[in-house]
């Protein structure tokens, strides 16, 4: 049996100002070391769910919460946000929300969480240096966080969460401000982190990337869990268009070939297998 590190059961949440529930029956489990992706249309409740995982819902965003969220054996109802931060880290959708606004330069910004966790100064300096190199922000360490470009802030935001070395990393569309190359860079880092055993829960709109990275995917629609399955199963299911999700183009290529009788296997969701399928079809 694999160890369950996140367990969400029938979670429902309505923001105090909201008329409808932002989450309306979400249940899932995430295993230790898993790469778990959450997809869904705008407003389907992805960010709300991320906030619930780190305790911001219901402590920060107040409202009507039902059901339970258990992180590494601890119910978020019985823990403070600060305590949860030792187990689970969130990179916000809006990177400017990630800043502490108390640091006068990037180095201090990165170190901010470490200070709260009481990490000794020498260790702090080492970790800041390491993360800055990894995130390629070592040349802006002395800059004021408020004077950075959107992409730079996003790197700082990611680094400031990752530097705390949480066992579970929640990423809410954390590369929206980065150029394609930059966001690939970040994803490579995320994949590396995942290989070292860190559990990753990621919200992303880029289906090709999701197909490539995810062990399992959860589809969210109007605050409800629609299905949880492997990328292959999810994207080859023709019903997903009903939830405003567009499978990677590779699926439609396979589909087109199948309809014309050039191919008979499963739909492929990533680049390389699709290339193989196309080659095969060309031979026919």
């Amino acid at each position: 049996m694999r160890e369950v590190v996140v367990k969400v059961e029938d979670l429902k949440f309505r923001y105090r100002e909201g008329k409808k529930r932002a989450l309306d029956g979400v249940s899932f489990e995430v295993f230790k070391g898993e790469f778990f992706c959450i997809i869904g249309a705008n407003g389907s409740g992805k960010s709300t769910l991320c906030n619930a995982l780190v305790g911001l819902v219901p402590y920060y965003f107040t409202g009507n919460k039902k059901g339970s969220v258990v992180i590494d054996g601890v119910d978020t109802d019985n823990s403070s946000i600060a305590e949860l931060s030792q187990k689970i880290g969130l990179v916000f959708q809006n990177p400017f929300n990630q800043l502490s606004y108390t640091a006068s330069n990037v180095a201090e910004e990165l170190a901010y969480g470490l200070g709260n966790h009481g990490v000794p100064r020498d260790e702090m300096i080492k970790r800041v240096e390491y993360v800055a190199k990894l995130m390629r922000i070592d040349h802006i360490l002395h800059k004021n966080p408020l004077e950075l470009s959107g992409g730079q802030v996003q790197r700082v935001a990611f680094g400031s969460t990752f530097i705390l070395e949480p066992n579970i990393l929640v990423l809410d569309e954390c590369t929206t401000q980065l150029d394609p190359l930059g966001s690939e860079e970040i994803f490579d880092i995320v994949k590396e982190l995942n290989k070292t055993g860190i559990t990753v829960i990621m919200v992303d709109h880029d289906m090709e990337r999701v197909a490539r990275c995810a062990d399992r995917i959860m589809v969210l629609d109007k605050g409800k869990t629609v299905c949880i399955d492997t990328p292959d199963a999810i994207f080859s299911n023709p019903d997903i268009v009903n939830y405003n999700i567009e499978a990677p183009d590779y699926v439609s290529i396979c589909k087109a070939l199948k309809e014309r009788g050039y191919y008979s296997g499963d739909y492929k969701i990533t680049e390389e297998p699709t290339v193989e399928v196309v080659k095969e079809a060309l031979v026919k």
Binding site: Y60, N97, S104, N116, R121
Partner: protein, 263 residues
């Protein structure tokens, strides 16, 4: 554009090498001493001393500017109020006809001004030789509640943040063809409608900020905060601190003796 949030510029003077924790002591030690002392001479002496200190901290120009800029108008104003209308006026310095300038009032006014200037001057020197991040770090390290420290830092950061927002909006406006340059009056007209939203959104930002802080461990129980900026407290710092406290106590004793007419 957004500026660093305090007026600290590294100047490599001895003042910078004193622990920030100690540097807030003069504000109270000198300031309170100037207030309690029965006459104005201590206050004046301290002001002269501060000018010397400012000179050695390479702050003389700015210091003089602020002291005169603040000191002259406030002195005139207070002399006007107390000199002409002070209730304790007995000795007439000069008779203007309808009003008389009284010695007691003038002295009272100078007393207030000198105390204010001592506070202002020590604060100015402290602020310009201390990096706020360091000050807060050193305060929390010596037992001040981190929440208080946060409040200090965050409020210092509100201004650069608003500046940033304004410049973003102005860029957006320029992109949409609104002319943001031009005559002063024109710029004023473009600028004013922006203020409301910018201030408001900075306030809601402050709310969102609280949430980030906690997800980064702020307010965690049973953990002593550490700091990236170096916090130090040397023997010299300790001596300076005791000297400052000593200064105040001596002033206090002399004041009491003078009031009791012993000396």
């Amino acid at each position: 554009m957004a500026k660093a949030y305090n007026s600290y510029v590294k100047r490599d003077t001895f003042k910078e090498n004193i622990s920030p924790n100690v540097k807030i002591w003069p504000i109270f030690s000198y300031g309170l001493s100037a207030i309690i002392f029965p006459n104005i001479y201590l206050g004046l002496g301290l002001i002269v001393f501060l000018f010397i200190l400012a000179f050695f901290s390479k702050l003389f120009k700015g210091f003089t500017k602020i002291m005169l800029g603040f000191g002259i108008p406030i002195t005139l104003m207070l002399i006007f109020i107390h000199g002409f209308y002070g209730s304790k006026n007995e000795t007439i310095l000069y008779d203007f006809g309808p009003v008389q300038l009284g010695l007691e009032g003038v002295l009272h006014a100078l007393k207030i001004v000198s105390s204010l200037l001592v506070f202002l001057g020590t604060f100015y020197i402290m602020n310009h030789t201390t990096y706020t991040g360091k000050l807060v770090a050193s305060l929390t390290a010596s037992g001040v509640n981190p929440k208080v420290g946060y409040l200090v830092l965050a409020s210092l950061n509100v201004v650069p943040q608003m500046q940033r927002k304004l410049s973003v909006i102005q860029e957006a406006q320029t992109a949409r063809g609104v002319e943001t340059k031009g005559s002063l009056w024109h710029r004023f007209k473009v600028f004013v409608p922006l203020l409301g939203p910018v201030v408001l959104s900075s306030l809601t930002d402050a709310q969102e900020r609280g949430m980030t802080l906690e997800t980064r461990g702020f307010g965690i129980k049973n953990v002593k905060q550490t700091h990236y900026v170096e916090v130090f407290y040397t023997k010299t710092d300790k001596i300076i601190k005791y000297m400052l406290i000593g200064f105040f106590i001596v002033t206090l004793i002399i004041t009491i003796l003078m009031r009791l007419s012993v000396i």
